[in-house]
């Protein structure tokens, strides 16, 4: 039984592999110290929505730094942020959520780019009596009895449709076709879009649906653009819209395109993928951050981005952590069932407008009534937990750049 005679063996290898999780589990409970306030986020770093994760993470960490640098909350307690990768997949999002809730004992699970992931994680978060903050649009997320624990930092799907119809009307397209990906957030936009088009004197002649992750979109593009409509409302995400735009360019179709910025901009990734010729003349819209507000401008500088950059999801992640810190301070409690009730009290008017989270915390401590204005939105909420008063920013691609056309409210 001399050790030297043992082969280097799969036993050793497997023992090592098997010990890995055990080692991880043993160490972690120490990670969140008693005095810290642990917060969690489920963000995409890989998969179809992977491009958005890093900026959302950076924005959330920025707030944590500011709050902790300003002395923390609840009498000097520090925020501690834990982030899990959803891999753009609901099942993985659920295990990530579970880990945050059980191992890191977080009071908030935020982030959530993508409605299926938010919907799959929602029952678990509600069962644990914690707060869920999402950055996704499907109406179903805030439907049902959520006991005031689910908050949407995003415009609802149904409000995106009418905004698209207004853009169509403003560029003079009356007979239009919808080309849309089969996806919960997009599907909910179509009926409101049709209704608003009819109201504005136009008509939707056809709706062409396609499945995500197709190798080619030629058939769908020819069906949608073949009848030569005046405009096509392209409800696509980044990867499919890049293929669709190239297909339209190749086919030489002349219809005007109105798309979603998550497809036709994606924080600059669309133009990187297709180049300026293909992108030329495409209109796109998204729920706008308050671009002209000092709060948003400061945020862009803090993110280290050039002035004028339009962050959508990063701003929402920023606001989620800010609102959490402010609401906890207001409620003088980190119990989610208590501080969630403070969310509308620090976000909705009346109150003195404040954008800086540290300043907001000071004002709350001084007993002032505040109204938080975020970097992603003005952060007004209705009774269901949906953000209201979100305006849409319309841009057009000209010469390889996004040029602002206007804001629709």
């Amino acid at each position: 039984m001399s050790p030297s005679t043992r082969p280097i063996t799969r036993r050793t290898v497997m023992a090592g592999l098997a010990a890995l999780p055990a080692a991880g589990l043993l160490r972690t409970p120490a990670a969140a110290q008693a005095a810290d306030v642990p917060l969690g986020m489920v963000l995409p770093f890989s998969g179809a929505t992977g491009p958005y994760g890093p900026d959302m993470k950076k924005a959330a960490e920025l707030v944590v730094q500011q709050v902790n640098g300003g002395g923390g909350i609840l009498g000097g307690r520090k925020l501690k942020l834990f982030i899990e990768d959803s891999e753009s997949n609901p099942t993985i999002g659920v295990t990530g959520t579970k880990k945050l809730l059980e191992v890191n004992k977080v009071e908030l699970v935020g982030g959530f780019w993508g409605s299926p992931i938010a919907l799959a994680s929602k029952p678990i978060i509600l069962a644990a009596n914690k707060v869920q903050m999402v950055s996704c649009a499907a109406n179903a997320v805030t439907d049902g009895d959520n006991r005031g624990l689910v908050w949407r930092f995003q415009a609802k799907s149904t409000s995106w449709g009418p905004a698209g119809a207004k853009v169509m009307a403003s560029i003079g397209a009356k007979k239009v076709v919808v080309l849309a990906q089969q996806n919960p957030f997009v599907v909910a936009m179509i009926e409101p879009f049709k209704a608003e088009m009819a109201k504005l004197g136009g008509s939707v002649t056809d709706v062409v649906m396609y499945n995500p992750d197709q190798p080619s979109y030629r058939a769908e593009v020819e069906k949608a653009f073949g009848s030569d409509p005046e405009g096509v409302f392209c409800l696509s995400l980044l990867t499919d819209f890049a293929s669709i735009a190239k297909e339209v360019y190749r086919g030489g179709f002349k219809s005007k395109i109105v798309a979603l910025s998550i497809g036709a901009d994606a924080e600059g990734k669309f133009l990187q993928a297709v180049g300026p010729e293909v992108g030329e003349g495409i209109y796109h819209l998204q729920p706008a951050p308050p671009l002209e507000s000092p709060a948003y401008k400061t945020f862009v500088t803090e993110m280290g981005a050039p002035a004028g950059t339009v962050f959508l999801f990063a701003g929402n992640a920023h606001d989620q952590i800010c609102v959490t810190a402010l609401a906890m301070e207001h409620a003088k409690s980190q119990d989610p069932l208590v501080w969630s009730k403070s969310i509308p009290l620090v976000c909705n008017p009346p109150g003195e407008e404040v954008a800086d989270v540290v300043k907001g915390l000071e004002m709350i401590r001084a007993g002032k009534k505040i109204k938080f204005v975020g970097a992603g939105a003005s952060c007004d909420f209705d009774a269901k937990g949906d953000q209201i008063n979100r305006s849409f920013l319309v841009q057009v691609i000209k010469g390889g750049k996004n040029v602002t056309v206007g804001v629709i409210s």
């Binding site: 994760g53 295990t95 191992v103």
Partner: protein, 306 residues
């Protein structure tokens, strides 16, 4: 912490059930099935649609029966094709299922999926113990299926399946009904995949088409390869270690602050890849090799060479 471990054990059980099924189809009978995710999805949706009306037990059985029937039909469809074409047909099947689930919104809720799937014994469970019941359900299911599979492996049916896998012509020459055997093996495997889907639906209580991506198929093959093709015990170990490796790497970034989420997400999958490659180099037969059976196993008194 407990409840997180419970979650992991449930996901390991789901992966284990899928793996056991694939181990029967591919490991024992040599039938390549690349449509695993389709069968799991079918089982999950069947449960989601029928559980509110029939109750959990009937819904689970219906899911298993439906998947068995569909498997049977699918393997019969490929009767005249060479066996490798089964792989192509099954890939096609999984895609068809995914696209149907995504587009037939009157039935499946389309991309929005189905929410509020009732769990077994929900009314009897004290609050906060919901996952515990599913855990028991999962473990019982795995134990039953493991027992069934081990029984099959040792039975004459298992022996003749191995014979068909190793050389179908010889088996046929000895008068074994090769086609019927294959169809049966495929159907039993399909039923177990349906059960795995049922467990997934009960645990998640919300399902949508994006939960049933081909990655399920990939993990199932990894589990079978890592565990040892043909060995059910090895399979359970394989499925367990792959899921544990996937989850354990989550903790890397909490322990090593220099790794951020972006790097970790890339690294985690790379680590799994490296693990599999190492395993295949160091242990090509898998964690637990398929037991070699000799004449003596069957006829203890035989004197001949095996």
């Amino acid at each position: 912490m407990m409840s997180y471990l419970v979650t992991i054990v449930i996901f390991v059980s789901i992966a284990g059930l899928v793996g056991l099924a694939l181990n029967l189809q591919w490991g024992l009978a040599g039938l390549v099935n690349f449509g695993v995710s389709g069968f799991v999805a079918l089982g999950a949706y069947m449960v989601a649609l029928t559980a509110p009306h029939l109750g959990w037990l009937a819904a689970t059985l219906t899911a298993a029966l439906l998947c068995a029937a569909v498997s049977m039909a699918l393997s019969l469809l490929t009767i005249r094709l060479e066996e490798n074409y089964l792989a192509i047909v099954t890939i096609g099947f999984a895609e068809i299922v995914r696209i149907l689930l995504l587009n037939e919104s009157w039935l499946t809720g389309g991309a929005l999926g189905i929410a509020d799937i009732p769990r077994p014994f929900a009314s009897l469970t004290p609050a906060g113990w919901g996952d515990g019941i599913i855990l028991v359900f999962a473990l019982v299911l795995v134990a039953l299926v493991y027992g069934l599979m081990e029984g099959l492996v040792r039975s004459p049916f298992g022996r003749v399946l191995r014979a068909v896998r190793d050389d179908a012509t010889v088996a046929a020459a000895l008068g074994k009904p090769v086609l019927a055997l294959r169809v049966r093996a495929f159907a039993v495997g399909g039923a177990v995949m349906g059960l795995a889907g049922a467990l997934h639906a009960f645990f998640m209580t919300y399902i949508d088409p994006s939960q049933f991506t081909p990655i399920i198929t990939a993990y199932a093959f990894m589990a079978v390869i890592a565990g040892g093709r043909g060995s059910n015990l090895g399979l359970l170990l394989g499925a367990g270690s792959i899921m544990l490796l996937l989850e354990a790497t989550r903790f890397l970034k909490d322990l090593v602050p220099s790794i951020d989420g972006t790097q970790l997400s890339a690294m985690r999958l790379a680590l799994i890849g490296i693990g599999i490659i190492l395993l295949l180099i160091l242990r090509p037969q898998g964690l637990v090799a398929e037991p070699r059976r000799t004449v003596r196993d069957v006829f203890p008194d035989a004197t001949g060479e095996s």
